[in-house]
Structure formats: structure tokens, C-alpha cells
Subunit: 217 residues, 2 copies
């Protein structure tokens, strides 16, 4: 995936965290927050927080700090959460099912328009009020409904093919839950969520800890 700006991914991946923490502050009726206070909450250094925010503009005020509500709103805008994005889900298995039922995404502006699968037992079923259709209809559906994000929840061997169908339909981004590195054109955004890799990391850390404990004794 080609990048279009010089903001590093390290910074980008902290933005949703800032957004979440600010939400929390607002829930607690806190109007004003300094980088130092944010540091205490987030675990990032105050310096890093100020650096990060200044990538996008001066949201703070010397001697005062940041207005929590304003900062929250600004980061929301930076993340594009003021927009609506239409999505489709390919693969209505465990994960596809779970994502389809996840109502909080819709609140953030991501609306699932279609769900597709190849299993005749699942086709026709309703998930969260959306009827599952055959995957062969996906490409046409994407074209007709102006879908931006394809959510890929297919088993490994079907995934590359499904990705191509998403791209031919015209999605701009793929949120990929399949444990595969998709081959896609440069201008297509791919975000991988690989649960195995995440679990294996847990496993590594457990083993590392055990070994450290064994040494101590």
C-alpha cells in the first residue's frame, strides 16, 4: 500500500487511542486537559502527545492545555469519523457474523449494506436485518451501492479471489480478517487483523516469562 502523506503509521495508530481516551474524559465531564494529564491516562509521554497532535495543527493553547471536546471533535475529523462509509462483508462465518452484529461500528459511521457467502445453508438467512446473498452477486452489489470498504472474512483459500471481487466492484479499502497477505493494487488500502498472530504473540510472551522465572530460581 502506497502512502499519501508523511504522517507515520506509528502516529496514525495512536489517534484512535487519543479519540477513545478523550471520549472517556467527556463522559466524566472533563472540559480541559493538558498533555501531562493525557500522559498519565494514556501512558504515552506528554512530549509524544504534543508532537503527535502537532502533526495535524495546534489544537492547544499555551498555559491552558487542550479543550477536551474540541480535541475530540478534531481527532474525529482527522480519522474521517464525520463521514459515512458503506461496507460489505464477504464470508458469513464466525467472524463475519460477529462483525455484522457489531452495532458500534454503525454508530461511528460504518454501515454494513450487504453480507455475502457461498454456503447455501447460510444464504437467505438474516443477520442484523440483512439477508445473506451469494458471493457471486457481491461485485455487482458493490458497484450499484457505492461501497467503500470490503470486510473480508473468508477462509484462507478463498480470500485472494474474494479480494479481487471486492476490488473489481470498486472498494477503496479492505479490512482483512483472513490470515493471508493479499495481493492488491497500490491504491487499495488493506488493514489486516490476524488473530492467530495476536494469539501467538501471547504464547511467546508466556514462554519468555516462564523462562525468566525459571532462571530466577
Amino acid at each position: 500500500m502506497e502512502r499519501f502523506s508523511n504522517i507515520s503509521m506509528a502516529v496514525v495508530r495512536r489517534l484512535p487511542k487519543y479519540y477513545r481516551y478523550l471520549e472517556e474524559l467527556l463522559r466524566n465531564d472533563i472540559k480541559r486537559v493538558s498533555s501531562q494529564e493525557l500522559s498519565k491516562i494514556t501512558g504515552f509521554t506528554a512530549s509524544q502527545i504534543r508532537q503527535d497532535l502537532n502533526c495535524f495543527g495546534g489544537f492547544g493553547q499555551q498555559g491552558y492545555g487542550y479543550n477536551a471536546e474540541e480535541l475530540h471533535k478534531e481527532i474525529g475529523k482527522i480519522l474521517g469519523l464525520d463521514k459515512q462509509y458503506k461496507t460489505v462483508i464477504i464470508g458469513a462465518g464466525n467472524i463475519g457474523h460477529a462483525i455484522a452484529n457489531y452495532s458500534s461500528f454503525e454508530k461511528s459511521g460504518f454501515k454494513t449494506m450487504g453480507i455475502f457467502d457461498v454456503d447455501p445453508d447460510i444464504i437467505g438467512e438474516k443477520i442484523n436485518n440483512i439477508t445473506v446473498r451469494h458471493s457471486s452477486e457481491a461485485e455487482q452489489f458493490i458497484k450499484e451501492n457505492d461501497i467503500t470498504i470490503g470486510i473480508l472474512c473468508t477462509p484462507k483459500p478463498k480470500s485472494q479471489e474474494a479480494a479481487e471481487c471486492l476490488i473489481n466492484g470498486g472498494v477503496k479499502a479492505i479490512w482483512n480478517f483472513a490470515p493471508v497477505d493479499l495481493k492488491v493494487p497500490d491504491n487499495i488500502i488493506v488493514e489486516n487483523v490476524n488473530l492467530s498472530e495476536s494469539l501467538f504473540t501471547v504464547s511467546y510472551l508466556l514462554k519468555e516469562k516462564e523462562e525468566a522465572n525459571a532462571k530466577k530460581r
Copy 2:
């Protein structure tokens, strides 16, 4: 979370990827692989691959490269995939349900022993052959069954409490799907999977790309 060795997390998070790519090579009956070939497949530089592997020992041979099968096995050991870990799932909603049904984890040595929820409509239901019990039984169950990993799939407000119950029971690691930063003792491993943050990153990249395109015109 306190770290016990000086291997950086950047390296650790690449290990599952190496493991996966090597699996692929083995499936294609490839016996031998050089760092340069691995570079082409993985997208990491050959230099980085050699550096990474050398954190754990000299698995290669000058002039030859790496034996794919041996390397795969070694990385498996490094990741602790030669061990069995028992898990419980707290929260049998969308994600908990999906994880419970995910059979590939069991093949890698992670065995779900119990599933817990507070919803009386779900308690008693069988998921992947495991009867859902009331969450109040979880702590005792963890103690009695020597559970190492707790998988947290509860809604946000219940999560800290549920984490404490896991820890009191004696788990060593928490795989956390709740969008919360858990407060846990230093010796407890926490791996967060935050789907919102991942989706928001997609959203950011989409917006960034749009802006770049707008500028070009």
C-alpha cells in the same frame, strides 16, 4: 506489562509472520530458503530477517540458507507452540462466540476449556461442545482446571471486573477484545485486540487518500 527479555516487540510480532510464511513454503514442498528469498515473500529486507533470526540463534548455514522445516520448527518452539495452553472465554456474545468456534486455535495448542457469560438466555447453551456457565463460576473453574489464558470478550463496562476475576483465578495472560485498557499487575501479560481502532485506521487512510487525490487535480 513488564518485559523479561531484551527482544524487542517489533521482532516478536514478526515471528508469527515468519512462521506462517514457512508453513506456506513447506506446503509447497520447498526444503531450503535464503534470507533473500524470504525477503521477496515477506516484504521484509533480507538483512532484517537475518537480524531477527539471529536474536534466537544461528539457524542458517553460510552458503546454503535456511532449512525451511527446521526453521519452521524452531520458530514454533520460540513461540511456545509446542506447548498446550488451556483457555477460558468470558463473554459469549459475538466475538466470544466466534473465538469459541475458531477451531484453528486448538490445532495450535490453545484449548478452550470453559465459556462464561451472565445472560441467562445464553447460560446452558452449548458452543463448540462446551456448555456456557455463569461468569460467577469462572474464578473457581480457572483454579480447578489450571487455565493459563483468559480471553476477554465482555462489553466495556464489565471488562475490568472480569479481568480481575481472571487474575484472581490465576491466569497468566489475558487476550483482551474489550475496548478498554485493563489495569492489571505487572506480571500479567495483556494482548489487546481493538477492532474499532483497526477500523478507524482504515477510515483515516481512506480520508488521507481522498485528500491526496483532491490535491492532485
